[in-house]
């Protein structure tokens, strides 16, 4: 029996295969019929302790499409956090004013802690470098929508596989469905061994490459990532790898018909703008799917959709 009602979502591993598929199915319903005013009379708190464009706006858009109200802040400077209020006190206070809390916070593990102290469910919208489960769900939604399935796909992950949290969550989630992983990264940004262990433990295979061109002919999905300067302890090391992988339109000539290019965004230069008009470019639609997925999560957690 799958139960999503009243359950916080902190990490993608909080959900098994059935829960993931349930959220994706509900999201599909919202894609077909987005404006369903089922959240009328509900208040959602949106607590963003650090800046975000896509995640915050797509959550807020999701609430608005559902007819709910939003309270909260878009940066910690406009809240009592600035006066030194603890996270616990902020959460306990805000939970008095809302039915569900969506939170982004720069501290790793802050979302798990918030979910423990909060009497209302918490959705993690990113806790530092740790987890970002709604991004993972929208990635899965985009993969299923473009490929018709999540089972046994050829998934190429490109760029920063070491620090990229979206990559780690995606590997964890796709391991439930039986993918083959093609890992393209510079030597210094390879997927951590702990993450590779999940692949092996699931009885699946992975292959490592340093050249992006090697995976293009057979990939169903190419998941590009930004090499994030702020994650590097040594700026020299960042300079060495920052332009390692740039996908250009001409490189896609011999790719599969069903190939789609995904990217969690924002991009810097890793996907050349000439790719944007190629029908295989899917990253902006992917960001749009984030609204359906977040509508689905909010509705499911509040028990308004089953």
């Amino acid at each position: 029996m799958i139960r999503l009602k009243n359950r916080s979502l902190v990490s993608i591993t909080d959900y098994g295969k059935e829960e993931i598929l349930k959220v994706l199915d509900i999201a599909e319903g919202f894609e077909h019929n987005q404006r369903q005013k089922i959240l009328s009379g509900y208040v959602i708190a949106s607590l963003f302790f650090e800046p975000s464009t896509r995640t915050r706006l797509s959550f807020e858009s999701a609430v608005q499409y559902l007819g709910g109200s939003i309270i909260g802040f878009a940066n910690a400077d406009t809240s009592s956090v600035r006066k030194g209020e603890s996270l616990k006190d902020t959460i306990l206070t805000v939970s008095n004013y809302s039915d569900l809390i969506v939170m982004r916070n720069p501290l790793d593990g802050s979302a798990r802690f918030a979910s423990e102290v909060s009497p209302v469910p918490v959705i993690n919208a990113g806790d530092g470098a740790n987890q970002h489960p709604t991004q993972c769900l929208l990635d899965l939604y985009s993969i299923r929508k473009t490929q018709g399935t999540l089972e046994n796909l050829q998934i190429a992950l490109v760029g920063d596989l070491k620090y990229g949290r979206t990559v780690h969550s995606l590997v964890q989630a796709l391991s439930l469905f039986g993918a083959t992983f093609h890992l393209v990264s510079p030597e210094s940004l390879k997927l951590p061994s702990g993450v590779k262990k999940w692949i092996k433990d699931a009885g699946l295979d992975y292959y490592q490459y340093t050249e992006l061109s090697e995976v293009i002919p057979f990939a169903d999905i190419i998941y590009m990532t930004r090499i994030q300067g702020e994650r590097f302890p040594d700026p020299m090391e960042y300079e060495k790898v920052k332009n390692a992988y740039v996908l250009e339109n001409k490189m896609l000539e011999n790719s599969k018909e069903q190939l789609r290019i995904l990217h969690p965004l924002p991009r810097v230069n890793e996907i050349s703008e000439d790719v944007d008009d190629n029908p295989k470019a899917y990253y902006f639609q992917q960001a749009k799917n984030g609204v359906y997925v977040r509508q689905a999560l909010i509705a499911a957690i509040l028990g308004l959709k089953e």
Partner: protein, 155 residues
């Protein structure tokens, strides 16, 4: 002869606890972790002693001290092979192998400076796991980072 020499190196205690079979390189770590430098009772410390089981081992004898379960969990983290021998009036009254707990609560600090437990008043919580090489690691409940035993700092 060999046994006699070992006994001479580390004196017997009347009442208290002997921590035996500490891996030699971890002996001093066990000593500092238990704050034994502040103890006012007799404490005997020996390391690099021969051991069939460990090659080289350490041993610590502490007078008038019996460990609580949470202290035994701490010892197990640093010295997973250790044996605790409780002594009263020179008689062994209890001998136990330390057991690694599945979880540790609020005794270890998270190695990640950005972890919520290092920035807010949150008691730490770790699962004890083994990595793909079979090495013991601590997995933080909050930031989900794993740390090696060599990085463990006690609260």
């Amino acid at each position: 002869m060999k046994n006699k020499r070992t006994e001479l190196k580390v004196q017997a205690i009347r009442t208290g606890t002997v921590i035996d079979h500490i891996q030699a390189e971890n002996t001093y770590r066990v000593f500092t972790m238990l704050n034994l430098e502040k103890s006012t009772d007799h404490v005997y410390f020996g390391t690099n002693l021969e051991s069939k089981k460990l090659g080289k081992k350490g041993i610590i004898k502490i007078s008038n001290k019996f460990f609580k379960p949470e202290e035994i969990s701490k010892i197990a983290l640093v010295a997973p092979h250790a044996t605790l021998i409780e002594i009263r009036d020179y008689e062994i009254i209890k001998k136990q192998q330390v057991e690694l707990p599945h979880e540790v609560h609020n005794i270890v600090k998270c190695v990640n400076p950005k972890c919520v437990t290092n920035n807010q008043q949150v008691p730490t919580q770790f699962k004890i796991i083994r990595d793909h090489h079979g090495k013991l690691k601590l997995l933080c409940r909050y930031c989900e980072k794993t740390m090696s035993m060599s990085d463990v700092q006690f609260l």
